[in-house]
Amino acid sequence: MTTTMTQPTLATAPPPPPGPEPAIRVEGLRKAYGGRTVLDGLSFEVDPGEIFGILGLNGMGKTTAVEIAQGLRSRDAGSVRVLGLDPERDPARLRPLVGSQLQSSALPERLRVGEALRLFTRLAGDVVDWRALADEWDLTRLRRSAFVSLSGGERQRLFIALALANRPRVVFLDELTQGLDPAARQATWRLVERVRDQGATVVLVTHFMDEAARLCDRLGVLQDGGLIACGTPKELVSAAGGSVRIAFSCERTADLAGLDRVPGVIAVAHDGRHVEIEAQARASVLVAAELARRDLAPPDFTVTAPTLEDVFVSLTQGVAR
């Protein structure tokens, strides 16, 4: 796995072994709109066959970055290679290899689902049968429905199908589940996994942490024009080094004496009935062992680890401060 580590705690990791040529390589990408710099030296790589997530607060340049990678926007400086091709200089060669679901786009209102699939597969040179595409993405029953009449989930399903009409090797999905209800989001996640399972590399732009944690093999957090962290969801959470919270019921204060001296425990709070301990992640086992040694086995003993969302907020707010 090729990983660009920009977070200090991750940057100390040993260099990765040589891997396959990255599907996407972005180096020193810069882009400004007027006087406002949006991307300021952004660098990252995406491996073939992985789902790479780009996270970031609104307005941090996520969409700009992926639109530059697709050749839909020009860049001010830096190097971008997608499947070895420069999107700005080789758009004609790259376009048949890339599928795209844009954050903001539409089809003619009266265009029917079947017509859209037929049109886009024809434009792609009929490398995919539009009827098979409709079947695969559960769009056959909507074949005669006009675009304007589709629900949000149905539109997203259609957009994913259209993004695959040229059998792409790299697929860009920008805020795919924006505005969808929870059931439709989960259904869409399964579709994204299917895209990856079919062998495509997926770049997913999102600001839903549960979506990123569920789908992405690796994530990059974009802030102030560059990646402030990059790695697997687990790597990001562990590298952030956030404390865990241990909670259980205990009415006798005496039973808690000395718990604050267990290695890794940061603070112990007791309100007379409930105990809450803030500790380093590895201390949770030691606390459990100490309670067991004291013949205490509270049935509601829980350890809450920091989530990706906690890490994201911590990272982005930390930088913002």
């Binding site: 844009l102 024809r122 434009l123």
Partner: protein, 248 residues
Amino acid sequence: MRTLIALTRTELRLLTREWAAMLFAFAFPALMLVVLAGVFGDLPDPEGFGAAIPSEHYVASYIAIPLGALALVGLPVMLASYRERDVLRRFAAFGVPAGAVVAAQALVSALLVLAGVAVVLLVAAPTYGIPTPADPVTVVAGFVLGTVTMLAIGVALGLAASTARAAQAIGLLAFFPMWLLGGGPPQRVMSGAMVSVADVLPLTHAISAVRDPWLFEGAATGADLLALGVWLTGALVVVGMLLRRRPQ
């Protein structure tokens, strides 16, 4: 070419579902023809219409209404709507350049102009009769150049307007003066200032390039064709700049 054909076929199919939007371009010229040609009649009026019979003047002039309405209103509104709603981005992301979508739209508009002209002639035939073209080759040349020029201007308007509403407002503002000065009353009854303005407008030349060789053998249309050529060149330069600057 494959892309252009696929897009044009789709646009034509979509048009059959939004025919009401094009009703103006078909109904308005027929209505105006019946009213105005009826008012001025078919008696010679040398002071107003020179050597032309008034009804023949209007029959030959009013094929410009579907041309003007579709080129200055219908086409720009459709293009601006596609840009506003990010339809062009959707196609661009699939490798279909905005220019191809624009060309398909212009091609569909050209077919609609032909249909609009056919409606005018169908209405004129049983009511006032259709004058036999005196110089049919020049009529066709003038019609083709006039249509291409007006559609190029329409594309420029559609790409320049930020929204479909803006395109509609600009298009209507351009269409009515152009039609009234270029294809309405004969220039003999206009003031000098009105004639000067009319002589600059492209629709005036598009109409003259068709009407004059239609009604008079040996009519001089060189100045009209030259003016249309200048307008076409200017419009294509603007279209090229807009497609480069704001392709989606």
